[in-house]
Every structure is written in C-alpha cells, then in structure tokens.
Symmetry: C2
Subunit: 450 residues, 2 copies
C-alpha cells in the first residue's frame, strides 16, 4: 500500500523535474507522510535530489533529515550551506540533530553548532557514545517542579510548543534537577486543578544511567512495557528520555547484528545494496578466518591420507559426518545466542539447559546415526562401514550439542558477544572432530572395510 | 540489577514457605514489579507455586497471568477453580484474557467465559487468528463521539477507570463506530474547554485491518513511529488498538523466528529449557532433511570414487571447496533474509543487489581462491592441485553468491518465508556443486596430479 503510493509519487516527482517544474515536484513529495518522504527521497538519483533540496523549506528538510538513514542524512547535511544547516538542525529533535552532527567532519560540525540557536539542547548529547542510553536519548522532555499544581501545569503545557517528541509523560524534578517522579498526561487530566503534581506522581520510576548499554536499556523498556524511559546521570539528575521508537530501532539493529554475526557478516550496517568494495572489504576477513578453520580440518584429514588409497569410499562419507555435526551444533547455537540476547539465561538455567542439550544430542545422534548407518549399509553393502558411520555421527552430534552450548556461554562469560565468533569456532570443532572420529574409527576397523 | 533483586526475593519466598509463612512469601512477591513477579514465579518449583497461588488476591493473579509466558499462564489457569478463573479473567486486559482462553481446552474456556462479567470485551477477540492484527489488538480503548467538547471528554475520563491499557490516544468514532480521527491526551489538555474534539482531532489516522498479518502491522507501526495503532474492520469500524508493547513482542518473536529458521530450528517457541522430548521431536525432522542433502552430496562424490585411489590428496581438500561455498552463501543469505524481513526489498533493488552480490562473489572468489591455491601448492608441492583448488573455489563462491540471493528472493516470490528453507537449499547446492566442480576439474587434470 505505502510502497505503491511512494512509487506513484516518485513518478510524479521525476515527471515534474523533467519538465523543470520544481515546485510541483516539491508538492508531490510533501503530500507524503514524513517517513515515506524519506523513502521516496532515498530512491531519487543524485541530480533529482540536488534539484529538490534547495527548494524544500526548513521544517520539511528537518523532517527529512530525521527520517533518513544516518549516512544519507550526513550526505545531505554536508551539501548544505552552514547557515542553512544550522537553521535546519535547530528545527530538528535534539537527539536527531546530534546524530547528524556526529556524522559530519568535526570542523564542519563545530561551525554548524556555533551558528545554531538551540545548540545548548544538542551539546550535552554529543558527549555520549552511540551505543549507550545517553547516545539514544533526547533532551526534549517536559520537566515540572514538585510544588506545581495540575492547573498550573496545564497552563504551562498550553504555552510551550506542542512539537515535543515525548508527549506521554511529564517528569517531576527538584531544584537540583533530580528525578522525583513521573506523571502521565491522563493522570494530569483527571487530577483536581489545585492538586500538586507530587501528590499524584508515580515516584517509583524505572530509569537508566546515561552510560548504560543501549541493549540493556532496550531490554528494560521491553521488560516493563514502557513507552518512554528517563535517563539520569550518576547523581540522579534527569538528562534525557528514551522513547519507544528508539527502543524499536535498537531491537531491530540488535536482531540484525545477531543474524549477521551468526552468518559471519561482521558489520550490521552492511546492506544488500552496499557498494561492492565495502561489501568485500567487510566480509572477506571472515571468509579468510573460515578458510583457516577449513584448512585445519583438511590437515586433520591429511593425517589419514593413506586410508583413501585403500578404501576410497571413505572419501564419499566423511563430509556427511562433519556436516551433520555442524547442522546439529547450529541448532543449539542459535537457541543459546537468542536466549542470551533476550536476557533469559541465568547460571542455574545454563547448566540445566546444557544437560538437556546433551540428552537431546544423544537421542538425535542415535536417530540420525541409525538411519544413515543402515542407509550406507544398504547402499554399499558393508556392515562395518554402516557401523562406523553410525558411531561417528552419534559421537559428532553429541560433541555438537556440547560445543553449540558451551561456546556461546563461554563467550558470554568473558563478556564477548556470543554471536560474534560462535559460528566459526563451532564449525571448526564439529568439522575437525567429525573427520577425526570417522577416519579414526575407519583405521581401527580397516581390515573389515577393504 | 533486577536479576539480583529477583534472586533475593526468591530466597525470601522459599525461606518463608519452608517456615509455613505463606503471607510473608506473598508479601515478598508483591514487593516486586509485576513483570519481575512473573520472572520470580517462573523460577519457583511446582510445590512452591501451588502453595502461593490460592493465597494471591485476584488483581495480583490477573497481573501475574498477564506477564507470564503463554504456556505458563495456561498451566496456572487450568489449575484454578472456574469461578475464580472467571473473576481473574475479568480483571485482566481483554487481549491477555483472550490469549489465556485460547490456550485452554475449549470446554473449559466456554465455562470460564459463561461465568465472566466482561465476556463481551473478550469474545470479539477470540475469533481472530493469533498472527493477525486482530489477534494482537486489545478492545480496551477510549472512544469519543465527534460532537463531544474537550471539557465533556475530560469529565468522562475522570469517571471511567484509570486502568485502561491505552492511555496515549482517544479515538473519535461516529454513531456507527467508524474511526474518524485520533486525539492525543496532550491535544485534549491544551484545547479550549468548549472546543469539539473533531475540531482538533487528527483525521489522517494510520490504521490496519483486523486480518492484516501481525508482521505487516508491526512494520507499519515501526515505520511511522507509532505508540499505538487502531485496528478497523472491512467497513472502517474501530475494533481495537495495538500498543507499543505488542509491537515489541512481535519484533522479538519475528527476529527469533528468523534466527531459528536460518539455523534449521523450525519452532520459534522452542527454548533452551524446553523438555528433551519436545526439543528432539521438533528439531529431528530438520536434521533428517539435512541428512538427505548431505547424502545427495555424498552421491555426487561417489561418482568420482575411483579418483581417490589414484590421488588420495583430493579427499583432503574437497571439503574446503564445499565448505567455503557454504560460508559465502550464508553471508548473502543472512543479508537478504534480513532485508526482506525489514521490508527493504523492492524489485528494482533486488536485481541491482543480485548483480552486486555476484560482483562481490567474483572478487571474493578470486581472493580466497588465490590464497588457498597458493597455500595448497606450497603445502603439497603440486601446482595443478593448487590451480584446481583456486578455480573450484572461485566457481563455488560465485555460485554461492547467486544461490544465496536467488533462493530467498525466490521463496519470497512464491510467498514462503525466505528464512524457512533457505539454509537447507543453499547448502545442498553449494555442497553438491563444490564437490562436482573440484572433482570434475581433478578428472580433467588427472595426468598432472598423479
């Protein structure tokens, strides 16, 4: 539905620009919801964007920069004159403006900040690392002193701009700025006009520190079903607010990161339309790392090289053992990486789960080993080959269950992201042990195989 | 932080129960935030739960059922007397009550519904499939007629219970229930007392139908940064509201589903602490499917069985070619599955991305092939072996880029979840083609390898 509308608008814009009617193109773009405008703008080519941008008014450009991906917003910002850019940044939400400034060359960012009127809202945000609650929060929140009455608060709300990003709660702070409680808009409505806000505020506020990791902050908001969560400094002074749209963005980014890392794509910003050079530069190191483990597995096989001249059929089945171990390990691995990401793993649970994975591994190993062993016996007519196959599969699938569990738990124990190196390590183990088990058993049973 | 508090409470509860002091145990549990209470309750054993439950008051039990995982909530509900269960369900949010009823045996659910006072709120929710917007929404929203003034609306809000789940917006509906617009609580506060709500409502409401897939609904809320989104029927009558916590739940479930499916774990409800029997029953069929593809690859190798008697070293390196193809394909696969899940893939983009993946594949294939080829030459002293290795790796990594792209796009084109079967299909192709390429080239160059 939206995509069809965006495609239609893109056609209108391109036709208007071809005819030299820039205002018509602008009008078509402005008809869209700001979120869709950014999608349409991203699909335009460089010339079309350059034709549109100078004619777009300041609030619309501010909306556009807020909705564009970070790298695209920086591209647009770099192309604007500094005084215009400063006006646009003033119009933006402080957290979004800080993101744009953070992506500009430092000298350019300093110039823009110097010309901004509302630089004071943005400067405190620039010091926080991107991946922390401080990097995620906005300074655009409404703070009210404890002694204020409901009536006074409502009058205050009438006076200030209605464009604040965080309309759900009011934050009650004392003279020194310490967060004392929150008041929902609805609590305010149903309170008596003369009631003081501290008499009906909720003093049990769930908050995080500016230095809290964004993933932990997101986990907390999700756990307590919060639409907005205040961020305080080390002494409890309210610094900003994280809103539900930030939470959604973090959750999506973290899910992308885990899926990518399990697949050995180390950079979550890499997309299917990233330039070929970037894509290769980021992915190739991990392919080389995988090459090392593959060559290690090849070295394991090379120790049994003499076997193949005597029993060539071993070369046919060795990969089945290694591969099935990899598949079984990947199942356990995915479940543990996800459980760790969702914060569901306590120490007690980890041990119980390890035992359950091993028990599952034994049953699955017997089930797969028996079927494949019988199949190989039927195919090649050698019972010992079938037996070796069954035993090696059983052994490797149990090993798979253990390493698919212990490697993510171990990486977490040393504070590394379990998703980061798990796949490489797990496959290295199941490949090497799979080949060693199968070919080792074949050496033992060699007289029965020839 | 929360975990330490929960662990401490668990100790208090267990000590109190050992001493037979149930009220103390209840008091310790109640001190926690409802979301944490559910976590603590889940960690208790069966006897402790059974001791606590009958003493918990109705609102607290309702909170607990809302926060527990669906299967645990159903377990608790089944153990309660029907009249008590009905009272508890009345106290719960309608969407959560509907979820519990949906997980009960049908006869039991019918009995509970018959004894409920607020069954009318819940019954409309029972007809919607779980994975649709209708299955996700709550019927607990505040609807206001267009002619109502701001003052009258505020008086109405003062009268009704403040426990509604959706406090952010009011929904303006006509006599027939058609959704006409929304009003934020803050708009209501700053409006003049005699202003009619339809004079300051926002008539451009983004909404979905009850039958919309929950993933599409979540994507829309995330795209437009909505804290709540109305759900309408086919003629535009407001049926319910999806809130930000539902959105978060859908996003987390869909991410789990994709990670699991890419790892051949078909059931997103499977967890690391699922019973061994369940775990094996769900995972084993996918291991068997992988077995089939592994045996197919073995059959490919068996066509070259004679080679290994002449040149045993081929058995050492064949798996490197197959494995590296699998790794490269998994990189492309993960990026496409994620892009499709995030709704970022248009037809135009798909073609451009395919070309980019193939270009990356050629460069990565040359890079990996050259290094491994030279390494194998240095190791085994045979230039032709190195050349075969390099060519087979190049070929298979290009194949990997193509299938890692086309298989998820193809599955999406026929309306299947790209994550579901992609891994199996992709590995089947890269394994079989990897072995065939390497052993085929070896057959051609055989005189130079002996």
């Amino acid at each position: 539905m939206e995509q069809a509308q965006i495609d239609h608008t893109l056609e209108e814009i391109r036709t208007a620009l071809e005819d030299g009617k820039v205002p018509d193109a602008i009008a078509a773009l402005i008809k869209l919801h700001p979120a869709d405008r950014a999608d349409a703008f991203s699909d335009l080519d460089h010339d079309d964007r350059a034709a549109l941008l100078p004619q777009l008014d300041i609030p619309s450009t501010a909306d556009l920069l807020e909705e564009l991906e970070d790298d695209e917003a920086a591209d647009v910002a770099i192309g604007l004159p500094t005084d215009l850019l400063a006006d646009i940044l003033d119009e933006m939400e402080p957290d979004e403006a800080a993101d744009v400034l953070g992506d500009l060359p430092p000298a350019r960012a300093a110039q823009a900040l110097a010309e901004m009127e509302e630089a004071d809202d943005v400067i405190p945000l620039l010091g926080h690392p991107d991946e922390t609650a401080g990097g995620l929060m906005t300074t655009s929140f409404i703070a009210i002193k404890p002694g204020t009455t409901a009536h006074e608060t409502i009058e205050f709300l009438r006076q200030i701009s209605p464009a604040e990003e965080t309309p759900y709660y009011l934050y009650i702070v004392d003279q020194a700025g310490h967060l004392a409680g929150i008041v929902g808009m609805r609590d305010l409505i149903i309170a008596g006009p003369e009631a003081r806000v501290d008499s009906f505020m909720d003093p049990d506020v769930i908050s995080v520190k500016t230095s809290t990791d964004q993933e932990d902050a997101a986990r907390l908001m999700s756990h307590y079903d919060l639409a907005a969560m205040p961020v305080i400094d080390d002494v409890g002074v309210l610094q900003g607010v994280i809103t539900h749209d930030d939470l959604v963005e973090v959750l999506e980014d973290e899910a992308t990161e885990d899926i990518y890392r399990l697949a050995n794509v180390p950079d979550p910003d890499l997309g299917i339309d990233s330039p070929v050079g970037t894509s290769v530069r980021r992915r190739l190191p991990w392919l080389y790392l995988n090459t090392l483990t593959a060559l290690f597995a090849a070295w394991v096989i090379s120790n049994f090289e003499g076997l193949f001249q005597q029993v060539a059929v071993l070369a046919v089945f060795q990969s089945v053992v290694a591969g099935m171990g990899g598949n079984a390990a990947t199942q356990s691995l995915a479940m543990f990486v996800r459980a760790i990401a969702l914060g569901e793993v306590s120490t007690q649970l980890a041990w119980r789960s390890l035992l359950r994975q091993v028990a599952s591994g034994i049953i699955q190993g017997i089930a797969v080993g028996a079927v494949v062993g019988l199949g190989v016996y039927a195919w090649k007519g050698n019972a010992f080959l079938g037996l070796i196959m069954a035993l090696a599969l059983l052994g490797n699938i149990v090993v798979a269950a253990i390493v698919g569990t212990l490697i993510p738990l171990g990486l977490k124990a040393i504070n590394l992201d379990p998703a980061l190196a798990s796949s490489v390590l797990v496959t290295a183990v199941t490949d090497s042990i799979g080949f060693a088990l199968f070919l080792g058993l074949a050496t033992i049973f060699l007289p029965h195989l020839r």
